[in-house]
């Protein structure tokens, strides 16, 4: 009962914030709505008993990536952009396409819904952080190292791209 209530709360918050995010004129408002969407996602992760991903989502996504977004938005703050046309001319076609995609995936899920076992049949390992750490550092060591090199490359790339040419 509490599980369902929590899920509905976070789900409504998430969908509402997402819709607000893609429809605002003011970019900073959009960024704030994305922050609430990401926090609601973190709530869903916690409700799924994945506490490590809950804190990682908040530290990395909300505390890192969104701060980066807000910095860039404030650096390129254009007052004139708020008064321009916000939605592209192909908006209607895009909406139809997205609807078709959604219906397609929904049908796929609907047809296959009998194949999903009942939830919570198996118990998650009680120590979530230790289990994730064990998987990450034993089975997924190579992807971990590659991800760290990717982050290094991204860091260098971002610094080079954003530097002023003196």
């Amino acid at each position: 009962m509490i599980d369902k209530f929590l899920f509905l709360f976070f789900a409504v918050l998430m969908i509402g914030s997402a819709i607000m995010m893609v429809t605002r004129r003011n970019i900073v408002h959009s960024a704030v709505y994305l922050i609430t969407t990401l926090l609601a996602t973190a709530g869903i992760f916690l409700q799924l008993k994945a506490e490590f991903l809950f804190v990682v989502q908040i530290i990395l996504y909300v505390g890192g990536i969104m701060v980066l977004f807000i910095f860039v938005i404030m650096l390129v703050n254009l007052d004139v952009a708020i008064r321009m046309v916000q939605f592209s001319r192909q908006g209607f076609v895009a909406g139809i396409l997205a609807l078709v995609l959604a219906v397609q995936i929904f049908l796929a899920l609907w047809i296959g819904r009998a194949g999903l076992p009942a939830p919570a049949i198996h118990a998650m390992p009680p120590k979530n952080t230790e289990a994730v750490a064990e998987a990450l550092f034993q089975h997924y060591m190579l992807p971990f190292e590659i991800a760290s090199i990717l982050l290094l490359v991204a860091m260098i790339g971002a610094v080079v791209m954003a530097k002023r040419r003196v």
Partner: protein
């Protein structure tokens, strides 16, 4: 507390709706920063999907994959924003319609 757990299809439906909103955001908005933020929405929808399945089958691999997706999203956001900043310095615009340097 586990007497009436949330059915798995609810999570998949939530992930689908978020994905659709993200796709609409990328296709419909002209401002490239909002397009980037919609891409983050899409990645989050995929994350919710992965986490739901990880809980369903009590498999921690889904969570590890989600961590990698978050890492990739960070890298991509950083580079994307760097490109946007560099472009903004050149052309003073943030609208994707006006980023047409390759055609005349």
């Amino acid at each position: 507390m586990n007497a009436a757990p949330v059915p798995a299809d609810w999570y998949l439906l939530l992930s689908l709706v978020l994905f659709a909103i993200g796709v609409v955001g990328v296709l419909v908005r002209r401002n490239v920063i909002i397009m980037l933020m919609s891409i983050e929405l899409i990645l989050n929808a995929v994350n919710i999907n992965l986490m739901a399945f990880s809980r369903l089958w009590a498999d921690v691999n889904g969570q590890v994959f989600a961590i990698f997706i978050i890492t990739d999203a960070a890298a991509e956001a950083a580079v994307g924003l760097g490109i946007i900043l560099a472009f903004f310095r050149n052309r003073e615009t943030l609208l994707s319609d006006e980023m047409d340097l390759l055609k005349w």
